[in-house]
Amino acid sequence: MTTITLSGIDKSFGAVRIVRDLNLTVADREFLVLLGPSGCGKTTTMRMVAGLEHPTLGEIAFDGVRINEVPTQRRDVAMVFQNYGLYPHMSVAQNIAYPLKLRGVPAAERERLVARAAERVELTPYLARMPRELSGGQRQRVALARSIVRKPRVFLMDEPLSNLDAKLRVVARAQIKHLAQELEVTTIYVTHDQVEAMTLAHRVAVMRDGVIHQLGAPAEIYNDPADAFVAGFIGNPAMNLVDVEAEGAGVRAEGGLAIALAAPRPGRLTLGARAEDMRIVPASEAHFQAPVYTFELLGEATMATVMVGHTLVAIKAPKDLRLEPDTRIGVRFDPARLFWFDAASGARVRA
């Protein structure tokens, strides 16, 4: 039962400003994902919530009570570190039991809780092992079990899946989602992987250079990006972003290609559209025409890529379509799923 409030948080290491005037409220029992490219300050932000790092400016509060001065061990948070931070001299059972031991939980009760936590993450057969005898996935689950063995006020996870191979990551992701629903603890989850963010989060905060660019539900971030950075960061493949200049009734891409779309305002703009929101059509219906650069089979669909100006633009197409490179194709946008951004600032320009 904890609401986390970050107000006006600034963090500098020496002269380098890593987090800039960050304001964020994580609601009680919310699963919030901090998403952004590597080095944007996600871990630093999370460490400030844990008390492992201290803000240069601003206030952190749990349930409205300032905790800036409260040391880590008294904040009652649980954290899964990127490298798990297991204790190599303790067995799996001792690792999981350590937070309980620190709280003076009696041995019998401790054993019961450890058994339950281990069962939840399917570690029961490994309780007697030492961490060095475990695989990466098992270690990750020990870290997870250690943080869920008690009920913390706040649950923090720093890229807990980044050291797992792709296949295991999908399984572990589902496991974390299931656990989170069961536990109902306020959670901040850090990742640079937008798929993790989209699948796990109640809300996603998209960060870059220490600034939150957009905060919203996954669908909102995907369907209504606040700026060109968010648009380009979310989705796989990333949204096509083409720099254009308004000209006459349409726009012209950098290389001179004309696109028959009315710009919302004159000047230099960035045009954004997702691959699945564009179609390959006959020349008469097309917004623009271009030769095929590459053509790929994805299994459930195909992907045609064309060169627009200096930018590659990907278009999702039906799975039975076949195209040869250099074939001229017509492309049509879905006008309802078209985004305009200011070319210089990246800010959204709404029609």
Binding site: A50, T72, Q73, D76, V77, A78, F81, G85, Y87
Partner: protein, 288 residues
């Protein structure tokens, strides 16, 4: 590369040059081992000889062994018993004080940022290189002033000054190798700094701490110069006890050898016990 030219592969035959190199290496190893072990072997033999046998080559290897020497050294005027007690008390006292202090200092050097840290650490390390002969007189005067001459406490203090810099340096190396994330993890789990150190850092750095303890015990156990100057009668340690066997009537080699066994045996046992640990931790420090 053909299979026949790979050493260790069946069918491989060493050339004459390689075989000669092999023999030379074996010889070198033998010479080194002999140089180390022969004196010890000689001392052990001498300790069980009657004085007459010590000086005759006829009885070099073949003689009637006696336990007389090992008994004599405990009697008046040698009294090695009290010297063993002193040595044990001084060495264990030094280690028991040095290791916790060194661990805390090493932790501070490894983990905290404070002004003058680099300089201070350099001073600690540099203090090892001050020749004992230079500071033995100031020590003597200090302890004389304090009325501590010929006390075991004085010897513990002196040995602390020798052991601490080594111990701080050694343990710091091992604490540096403990990932900070482990400590942070413990703090998040609810551990205070004190518990982080005792329950996480110390166990993780234990090989280094044991190494430092063994090393410190050995240094103190064998320490000669300061004990010679500072102790006179009550606080005499084993190494000082040994020079008592050089008397006006000549050197009593068989007694000195018996004393030598008493001084070496504990070190021998300790090194056997921690041998694997010791080697392991030394190399662990080396490859880091």
């Amino acid at each position: 590369m053909s299979a026949a030219s790979v050493p260790g592969v069946p069918g491989y035959r060493a050339g004459p040059a390689e075989r000669a190199a092999g023999w030379l290496r074996a010889l070198a190893v033998f010479v080194i081992i002999a140089a180390i072990l022969l004196p010890i072997f000689w001392i052990v033999l001498t300790a069980f000889k009657v004085p007459r046998d010590v000086y005759t080559l006829d009885a070099a290897l073949w003689f009637a062994p006696t336990l007389e020497n090992l008994r004599t050294v405990f009697e008046h005027p040698w009294n090695l018993g009290s010297k063993i007690v002193n040595s044990v008390l001084v060495a264990s006292g030094t280690v028991l004080l040095a290791i916790p202090m060194a661990t805390m200092a090493a932790y501070a050097f490894a983990r905290f940022e404070f002004r003058g840290k680099q300089a201070l650490f350099l001073v600690v390390i540099a203090s090892q290189f001050i020749p004992a002969a230079v500071i033995v007189l100031p020590y003597f005067l200090m302890f004389k002033q304090a009325g501590m001459l010929d006390t075991r406490s004085a010897l513990v203090l002196v040995n602390l000054s020798i052991v601490l810099p080594y111990a701080v340096w050694m343990i710091k190396g091992f604490i540096d190798a403990v990932p900070v994330e482990m400590e942070e993890s413990a703090m998040v789990d609810g551990a205070s700094r004190a518990r982080v150190i005792t329950e996480i850092v110390v166990p993780a750095a234990l090989p280094g701490i044991i190494t430092a303890a063994v090393f410190g015990f050995t240094l103190t156990w064998n320490e000669f110069l300061f004990a010679l100057i500072i102790s006179k009668q009550d606080a005499l340690t084993l190494p000082i006890g040994l020079i008592g066997f050089r008397t006006d009537r000549g050197d009593l080699w068989e007694l000195m050898a018996a004393g030598g066994i008493l001084i070496t045996a504990p070190m021998f046992v300790v090194s056997l016990l921690v041998h694997r640990q010791f080697i392991g931790s030394l190399t662990a420090g080396a490859v880091r």
